[in-house]
């Protein structure tokens, strides 16, 4: 047990998997000598050598495409895309190949590829450095999509993602990279289970990644006014743990989904639709969404106004309570 930042926790998870399985590889832009622009791969090349931890040319499609080929040759690639906004050049490889290869080969070619993508906003980054691409991946059948909310989650889920036999898109909430938390290096994660982060009775806040912490803050603020909010961290969007989500909302009768990505066709829509489909009769109010706006992720100076904040979350909570 140690106090680790999310960056350190992910580094530990990679180190652990590199040690345990000699077929595991780590590669991407600047992950070797530099140790990653966020230092998530710091020291790995020194420990495991240039054969297993290496820098690639600047080409995201090739990073994912060659990961597919390496997996076909029996390796277990963990590759990094430097930022959310640079994951798009690889979308064709992801949609056309990574997600479909297992099916296309009737299960013969499993692709245990993990793609790590530092994602989301809130760190004052330039254009293309603050996006939340989860919808693109969650809508692509054949992938798993994981979005940890902090160091302990990050550690466990990354290890589980690397060990998973299916391709996993691993979205790291970069605004949480420097948060510290106790991390239990022995705890094994499992993909596909949501987690009740805080129990409550009046309404449920549903989030993943960086918005989990924001929802917790909102819940604390609400508690001061005697409103007890339950907070659920989805942890994995695909598979989505609908049972945990709907059990919570069945109990509270009200839900607000919070995410950074734009509203329209964001993953909040899926959660909202699922809740309606599964527990319509238990809903005392419509499921509401507090999300980024339907605009490209804005410049640093105004990103705080774009991202869901306590005011917006609590207003939505008030709406479902007043309904």
């Amino acid at each position: 047990m140690a106090q680790l930042t999310l960056v350190q926790a992910l580094n530990e998870a990679l180190r652990h998997e590199l040690r345990e399985d000699p077929r595991t590889l780590v590669f991407g832009e600047d992950v070797g000598r530099l140790g990653g622009v966020f230092r998530v791969t710091d020291g790995l090349q020194e420990e495991f050598g240039e054969r297993r931890v290496f820098d690639t040319p600047l080409a995201e499609s090739a990073i994912v495409g060659s990961a597919i080929g390496l997996a076909l040759a029996g390796w277990r690639p963990v590759c990094e895309i430097q930022f959310d906004g640079f994951s798009y050049p690889a979308l064709d490889q992801v949609i056309t190949n990574l997600a479909k290869y297992r099916g296309r080969t009737r299960g013969r070619a499993a692709l245990p590829v993990t793609i790590r993508i530092p994602s989301g906003g809130g760190i004052g980054g330039p254009e293309h450095h603050g996006e939340s691409p989860e919808t693109y991946y969650a809508h692509t059948a054949g992938l798993k999509v994981v979005a940890p909310s902090g160091p302990a989650e990050g550690y466990q889920l990354l290890r589980a993602a690397i060990r998973d036999p299916d391709p996993v898109i691993f979205l790291e909430p970069k605004s949480r990279y420097w948060t510290k938390e106790e991390v239990d290096a022995a705890a094994a994660g499992r993909l596909g289970q949501a987690r009740i982060v805080r129990e409550g009775t009046h309404a449920t806040l549903i989030a993943w990644g960086a918005m989990t912490a924001r929802c917790l803050q909102a819940a604390e603020a609400a508690a001061e006014d005697g409103v007890e909010l339950e907070v659920v961290d989805c942890r994995s969007l695909v598979p989505l743990d609908v049972d945990t989500l709907s059990a919570s909302v069945r109990k509270t009768g009200r839900a607000v989904v919070v995410h950074e990505a734009p509203l329209t066709a964001g993953f909040g829509a899926e959660i909202s639709a699922r809740l309606m489909e599964t527990i319509f009769r238990d809903l005392k109010a419509p499921v509401l969404r507090v999300t980024g706006y339907d605009i490209p992720y804005p410049a640093a100076a105004v990103e705080a106004a774009y991202l869901p904040d306590l005011d917006r979350i609590l207003t939505a909570v008030q709406k479902v309570l007043d309904y």
């Binding site: 590889l25 495409g65 490889q93």
Partner: protein, 324 residues
């Protein structure tokens, strides 16, 4: 490279003749409604068979959608191959590892990166293996093919990029794909590129064997441009008379790779005998193909994940109920 023995020439001829005949049969099967579509390769047998013949067991071939000739050389069961075009299973039903022959890749160019990744992986495992990836001259316009060649150059991946320049990408002529000769593109990546007569099976074999051997020995990638010609339509859905003149096609008919190899072998008894053999095998193939069980709807859920997520399992269950 030692030149091929006479029995090997005959083996090549058998393979090419069989390829040609299955190709024709597949087009016929499509006309009869038994295949949903088919991209014929007639005219490209030397390029495909000659190059694949240079592969060793441990090598891996990554085809596009037109490489039935390579599939044949690799020993892939053609029922399992053609059922892709029957609409039974995308990618084909064969086991890619049984013959080290990848799934049919319909998205132009993107499989080049898989070959490079596989080759990087083979090199990490100690070498002695090579990948070959097949695509057309049209594919060289795609970003993925560039990234693949660039990665191969940097990582000295044991991979051969085998371009069948068959002059056309559907209706677009090669002159509209690139302003430079295709084999020259290797200069952008720091490895050898060569242009060969793709209708001369011996030249194809020799060049490919050399490139594969260099790759296996750690000498890095090679780009081979095999000049050839698609004598038929792009696919059974295509009508080439809309974009090219018969006068253009004719000279290429004279370069028919089968005729050229037959002339070299110069043994009419043999070629006649091959025709018979091949007819027999095609009859058998046809029977087996048409009597193979058709795809079951429920199967489409089978291989998407190692274990289906709950939502998917529920969807499968829903479908099961519909169909029972």
């Amino acid at each position: 490279m030692p030149s091929l023995r006479p029995d090997q020439l005959k083996e090549l001829y058998r393979l090419m003749a069989f390829t040609r005949r299955v190709d024709q049969e597949a087009v016929a099967l499509q006309r009869q409604g038994e295949l949903t579509a088919f991209p014929p390769l007639t005219g490209q047998e030397a390029a495909q068979v000659g190059s694949a013949y240079a592969l060793q067991r441990q090598d891996f071939a990554f085809p596009s959608y037109r490489e039935m000739g390579v599939a044949i050389v690799r020993g892939v069961d053609l029922v399992e191959y053609l059922r892709a075009y029957r609409g039974d299973w995308n990618g084909g039903l064969y086991d890619l590892y049984a013959h080290n022959f990848g799934p049919i890749a319909s998205s132009v160019g993107s499989h080049a990166l898989h070959a490079v990744g596989w080759a990087m992986g083979a090199a990490l495992d100690g070498g002695g293996k090579a990948a070959i990836v097949y695509f057309g001259e049209g594919a060289t316009s795609e970003g993925d093919v560039h990234e693949a060649m660039n990665f191969a150059g940097i990582f000295r991946a044991p991979v051969v990029f085998f371009v069948q320049n068959n002059q056309w990408a559907i209706s677009v002529p090669v002159a509209r794909q690139t302003a430079a000769p295709i084999h020259r593109k290797a200069e952008a990546y720091g490895f050898p590129g060569l242009r060969i007569d793709g209708n001369d099976v011996l030249a194809v074999h020799a060049a490919t064997a050399e490139a594969l051997e260099r790759a296996r020995a750690g000498g890095g990638p090679t780009l081979i441009e095999a000049l050839t010609y698609r004598l038929g339509a792009h696919s059974t859905a295509d009508d080439p008379t809309r974009y090219r003149q018969a006068a253009e096609v004719e000279p290429w008919r004279a370069q028919d790779p089968l005729l050229r190899l037959a002339a070299q072998i110069d043994d009419e008894d043999f070629t006649r005998q091959v025709v018979e053999e091949v007819e027999e095998r095609v009859r058998d193939l046809r029977t087996r193909l048409l009597s193979a069980p058709r795809a079951e709807p429920e199967e489409m859920f089978e291989f998407v994940y190692a274990e289906p997520p709950a939502t998917l399992a529920a969807q499968r269950e829903e479908l099961r109920q519909w169909h029972s």
